[in-house]
C-alpha cells in the first residue's frame, strides 16, 4: 500500500507544483490589471472573482467575461494565461495517466490486490507454486471438489492462462518468483488457514528452496514437493518435507504393481481418477519374458530397478551410456529409433517395451518401429509434453507415462481424499480375488463412469445430525446412512470403503457397523449419492426418517396439530 501511495505522490509532485504556480500567476495577473465596471469606472477584480474566472478558463474555453466585460489589458493577459493554464492541465493529466500505465505501478497494484485477497481468504487453502502442466491439473482437481488454492508462478503468461481457465472456485494468482520468501508470505504462507504448500515448479532447486522457506516460516504447514532426482529427494526429506513425489519412480512402481496385481491397480486407478471420465481398461503387463528399455535416464533407471525386482529378463538401449551409466546386463548402443538397434536388443523375442527417452518424437518413433517388428509387444511410452497427447493415444501404447499427470493425481488424492491413500496402502495387502470382486461391485454401481470418492467426518460441522444422533436415542449403523432420505426403501448407490474408528482402520466395513461421533468414512459411488447422504448427515428429520421410518413433526405448533389430528 505504502509503495503505491508514495509512488503516486512523488510522481505527481512536479505536475501539481506547475499547476499551482500557473493558477497563482494567472489569478494575480487578473486581480492586478485595472478593470472597468459596467459604467466604465475604473475598478479591480477581486481575488475571489479571479479564482473563479481562472478555474473555468483553464478547464473549458467556452466562457464569458465576468463579473464585468474585460478591459483590453485584461484580455491580453487572458490570452496568454489560457495557453499556459490549459497546457499545464494537459501536462498534469497526461502525467497521471502515464503513471497509471506504468508497469511498476501496475505490478504494485496487482500485488496489493493479491495480498488483500489472500488475507481475506475465509476457507482453508493450499498454496501452489508453479502453474505448469502439473499445477494446472492439480488446481482443477482441487477446485472441482470446492477446495481453495492460491497460485504463484514466475511466468506472466501462465498466470493469464489461469485467469482464462474456468475454475469452480476463485483462485488468486500472483506472478512472482516463488523462491523469494516475500512472495510466499504474500501468498499466505503464514495465513492461519494455509493448509499446505505444494512446490511443483520444473526447477528442482526452486522446489527445494520453497520447501525450506515453507518449513522455516510456518513449521506447521504441510509441504508437498516434486523432485526429479534422488539427491534432491533426500535433501528434502532431511528437513521434514511431508510428501515428496518423484514421477519416474512413482510410475515404475505403479507398473511393477500392475505386473503383480492388475486388478488391484485397476481398482486404485478408478478410485483416484476424475469422476465422470470413462472407466479405464485393466492392463495386463506380461509378468515373465524379456523387456526392452529404451533410454537409461531417470525414468529408464527407475523402470530397470522395479522390473528387475520382478525377476524379468531385461535389455537396455541407450544412446549415451557413458553419461548415464551401464546396467549389469550391458547396454545396446543406439537410440532405439532404428530397427537395427531394436533387433540387436532382440525385440522379436521380447514381450514388453519401455520407450523412455526424454524426447517425445524419439519415443513415438521407437514405439512405431518396435510394433512393426513385433506387434504383440506390451508398450509403455513416456510422454514428456502434454500437447503430444493425441499422438500418444494413437500410437498404440498400452500404458502412457506422463510425469505431470501422475504427480497431479497423487497430490490431488493426498489433499482431497487423504483416506484414499490409506485405503490404497491397505488394499496392497489384499489378494487379487478381493480386488476383482470389489471391481465388479463398483462396475455394477457406476456403470461406465469413474466412481465418485468422498470422505465423511462425523463431527459437529460436517455431520451435524449424525453427531447428535446418540443424544436423541437414534441407533445409526452404516446401513442407515446408505438409505435414500427420500424413500428409505431404496438404497443409495455407494460402497463404504474404509472406516476409521478409534484409530482402527476397517477395510470394507460391514453394514451393521455402528457409526459414532469422531469416525471417518470413505465412500465411493455416484456423486448424486453423496448429496443425498449429506441430507442424512446434516438434517435431523432426514436422519430420523431413514433410521426409524417415521417422520416426526418437531416444532411446537406442528406437534400440537399432530396431537389434534391423531384422535380423529
Amino acid at each position: 500500500m505504502d509503495t503505491i501511495f508514495f509512488l503516486v505522490l512523488r510522481r505527481m509532485r512536479t505536475p501539481l507544483l506547475t499547476l499551482i504556480v500557473a493558477y497563482a500567476v494567472a489569478m494575480a495577473g487578473m486581480a492586478i490589471i485595472p478593470a472597468q465596471d459596467a459604467d466604465g469606472n475604473p475598478t479591480t477584480m477581486s481575488l475571489f472573482h479571479a479564482f473563479y474566472f481562472v478555474s473555468y478558463m483553464s478547464t473549458t474555453i467556452g466562457f464569458g467575461e465576468l463579473p464585468n466585460a474585460f478591459t483590453d489589458a485584461q484580455r491580453i493577459w487572458v490570452s496568454v494565461s489560457v495557453f499556459v493554464t490549459v497546457a499545464v492541465w494537459i501536462y498534469a493529466i497526461g502525467n497521471l495517466i502515464a503513471l497509471l500505465q506504468d508497469t511498476t505501478l501496475q505490478r504494485a497494484v496487482a500485488e496489493r490486490r493479491f495480498r488483500m485477497r489472500v488475507r481475506r481468504m475465509a476457507h482453508p487453502f493450499y498454496l501452489i507454486c508453479g502453474y505448469g502442466q502439473t499445477g494446472s491439473t492439480l488446481v482443477k482437481g482441487l477446485t472441482d471438489r470446492h477446495l481453495h488454492a492460491v497460485v504463484i508462478d514466475i511466468d506472466p503468461e501462465r498466470i493469464s492462462l489461469l485467469q482464462l481457465d474456468n475454475q469452480r472456485e476463485f483462485v488468486p494468482a500472483l506472478c512472482a518468483d516463488a523462491r523469494s520468501p516475500d512472495a510466499l508470505e504474500s501468498a499466505g504462507l503464514k495465513h492461519p488457514l494455509c493448509r499446505g504448500v505444494v512446490a511443483l515448479t520444473n526447477v528442482n532447486e526452486a522446489n527445494l528452496k520453497i520447501a525450506i522457506a515453507a518449513k522455516l516460516l510456518n513449521a506447521e504447514s504441510k509441504v508437498i514437493c516434486r523432485a526429479d532426482s534422488h539427491e534432491i529427494e533426500a535433501n528434502m526429506a532431511s528437513f521434514g518435507t511431508d510428501h515428496i513425489y518423484d514421477p519416474f519412480d512413482a510410475f515404475a512402481l505403479y507398473i511393477a504393481v500392475a505386473i503383480q496385481a492388475p486388478c488391484q491397480t485397476l481398482l486404485v486407478d478408478w478410485l483416484s481418477g476424475f469422476t465422470g471420465d470413462t472407466i479405464s481398461e485393466p492392463h495386463y503387463p506380461p509378468h515373465q519374458g524379456r523387456w526392452v528399455i529404451c533410454g537409461y535416464g531417470r525414468f529408464g533407471k527407475a523402470m530397470y530397478k522395479h522390473l528387475k525386482e520382478q525377476g524379468l529378463d531385461l535389455a537396455v538401449i541407450e544412446a549415451a551410456p557413458h553419461k548415464t551409466g551401464i546396467p549389469a546386463e550391458g547396454v545396446v548402443h543406439g537410440r532405439g529409433t532404428e530397427a537395427v538397434t531394436l533387433e540387436e536388443a532382440e525385440i522379436r523375442r521380447a514381450v514388453g517395451l519401455v520407450a523412455g527417452t526424454d524426447n517425445d518424437a524419439d519415443n513415438l518413433s521407437i514405439v512405431m518401429t518396435a510394433l512393426e517388428l513385433n506387434p504383440d509387444l506390451f508398450v509403455i511410452a513416456r510422454e514428456n509434453r502434454l500437447q503430444n497427447k493425441e499422438l500418444f493415444d494413437r500410437v498404440g501404447a498400452h500404458a502412457i507415462m506422463n510425469p505431470s499427470t501422475i504427480i497431479a493425481r497423487r497430490i490431488r488424492v493426498r489433499l482431497v481424499t487423504p483416506l484414499l491413500a490409506d485405503f490404497s496402502n491397505l488394499a496392497r495387502f489384499q489378494d487379487e480375488v478381493w480386488a476383482s470382486s470389489l471391481v465388479a461391485r463398483i462396475i455394477a454401481l457406476v456403470e461406465e463412469r469413474m466412481p465418485y470418492v468422498w470422505e465423511v467426518s462425523v463431527d459437529q460441522e460436517r455431520a451435524f445430525a449424525l453427531h447428535d444422533a446418540q443424544d436423541r436415542g437414534l441407533h445409526v449403523t452404516l446401513d442407515t446412512l446408505l438409505h435414500d432420505p427420500r424413500n428409505r426403501e431404496r438404497q443409495l448407490r455407494a460402497i463404504p470403503l474404509l472406516l476409521i474408528q478409534n484409530g482402527e482402520r476397517i477395510l470394507l466395513p460391514a453394514l451393521d457397523e455402528r457409526v459414532e461421533a469422531g469416525d471417518r468414512l470413505l465412500f465411493c459411488g455416484l456423486e448424486e449419492a453423496r448429496w443425498r447422504m449429506d441430507w442424512v448427515l446434516q438434517n435431523i428429520h432426514a436422519l430420523r426418517y431413514v433410521a426409524t421410518g417415521e417422520s416426526q413433526r418437531e416444532g411446537a405448533v406442528w406437534r400440537w396439530i399432530a396431537a389434534w389430528q391423531r384422535p380423529r
Binding site: 505504502d2 508514495f6 501539481l16 507544483l17 504556480v21
Partner: protein, 127 residues
C-alpha cells in the same frame, strides 16, 4: 549543498514568514490584514505541501501533516472571507475579520512546528 533542500527550506520558511505578515496587526481591523497577503500565504503553503509529498520517512510524514493542517486553516480563512464579502449583506465586519485572522494564526502555529522540525532535522544531520 543539495539544491532540492534549498528550495524545500525556502518554501517552508516563506510560508511561515508570509503567514506571520498576514497575522500581525490589530486582530479585528481589516485595514491591517490585506487580501493579497492571504493569497500569497495560501499559494506558498500549497507549494510547500506538494513539496512534502512522497517522503517516506517519519519526519517527512509529520512535516506533511503540519502542512495539511496549515492548508486546512488557511482555506477555511479564505472561505470565510469570500462568504463574508460576496454571500452576506453585512460584509467584512470586525468580528469576521477577527475569526479570519485567528484561523490564520492557527495555520501559523502549524507552520512554526513545520519550521522547528526542519531545523531539528538539519541539526541532527549536521551531527
Amino acid at each position: 549543498m543539495n539544491p532540492e533542500k534549498v528550495v524545500f527550506g525556502f518554501f517552508i520558511v516563506l510560508a511561515l514568514t508570509l503567514n506571520f505578515g498576514f497575522f500581525v496587526g490589530e486582530l479585528d481591523n481589516p485595514s491591517h490584514h490585506h487580501a493579497w497577503e492571504l493569497f500569497a500565504v495560501v499559494v506558498v503553503n500549497m507549494i510547500a505541501t506538494v513539496l512534502k509529498f512522497g517522503d517516506r520517512t517519519q519526519m517527512g510524514a509529520v512535516l506533511l501533516a503540519t502542512s495539511l493542517v496549515a492548508m486546512l486553516q488557511l482555506i477555511a480563512a479564505s472561505l470565510v472571507w469570500t462568504f463574508a464579502v460576496y454571500a452576506t449583506d453585512a460584509g467584512l465586519t470586525a468580528s469576521i475579520m477577527a475569526s479570519i485572522v485567528s484561523l490564520s494564526g492557527g495555520a501559523m502555529i502549524a507552520n512554526v512546528v513545520s519550521v522547528t522540525l526542519l531545523v531539528i532535522e538539519t541539526v541532527m544531520l549536521r551531527r
